[in-house]
């Protein structure tokens, strides 16, 4: 039988979230910014699963399902915006988008 301490699972979630946050701040390629957003959403899902494991309740997994649906919607809109940016400025650098007017 396995008995993982909840604190360790939450610590892993925190580390993964921090890595994603660092990636969002450091990287300027818009593909990598979206990837790091995915990492952060996944880490929050892990925190919910760990909490559900701690109390033996299904609510944590339900929140994970909702996060999954939200991530799917976010990725589809984000990638469409990325295509628009690439067709407008022919670059994937997020800093180039500061010249948008209107």
């Amino acid at each position: 039988m396995i008995s993982i301490p909840t604190a360790h699972a939450l610590l892993l979630a925190g580390v993964l979230f921090l890595l994603g946050l660092v990636g969002v701040i450091v990287r300027r390629n818009i593909i990598f910014i979206l990837l790091c957003l995915e990492i952060m959403l996944n880490a929050s899902g892990l925190a919910f699963i760990a909490a559900g494991f701690h109390w033996g309740r299904p609510d944590g997994q339900i929140m994970f399902l909702l996060i999954l649906a939200m991530a799917a919607a976010e990725v589809s809109v984000g990638l469409a915006l990325m295509l628009q940016l690439y067709h407008r400025s022919h670059t994937l650098d997020a800093d180039q988008a500061d010249r948008m007017r209107g």
Binding site: I2, I4, H8, V75, S76
Partner: protein, 172 residues
Amino acid sequence: MNVLFYIAAAVAVICTIMVITNMNAVHALLYLIVSLLSLALIFFLLGAPFAAALEVIVYAGAIMVLFVFVVMMLNPESQTIRSRKQLLRPGMWFGPAVPAAILLGELIYVLTAARGTFPANVVVEPHELSRTLFGPYVLCVELASILLMAGLVGAYHLARPEALETSEGDDR
């Protein structure tokens, strides 16, 4: 069996670090897929088999395919041919293959050692999960469906061919 969790956690953290330090988008995607698979194994060890299956199917399957699709679409032709030649070199796929092999070994060990039972002492079965999801949480299901519909309409509106053509016309 606790050591399985720590190995999978180490694989997840290392692969995530490789994602944010990688310069090539396709390689970063490969590492991210391995990281998601290790998180799926962690979900399984934490007594959430349904969430683990969804993590593999929806995250590592559907969402990452969307990413790969867009990255391949944006690559210029010459770069694509060059990267195809690079893909045949062993050094390209060796990095993600090793942690994936570690995860496969862990999965085989879990499945053979458990003999049909779940490794965790507290397991939330899909039956109980769906009873709760469509009981007290049914409003959240409706909200999620509205959100997905908004995502669908927004993605279609932003990436439709007329919008891309007019934006190209603005450039000239």
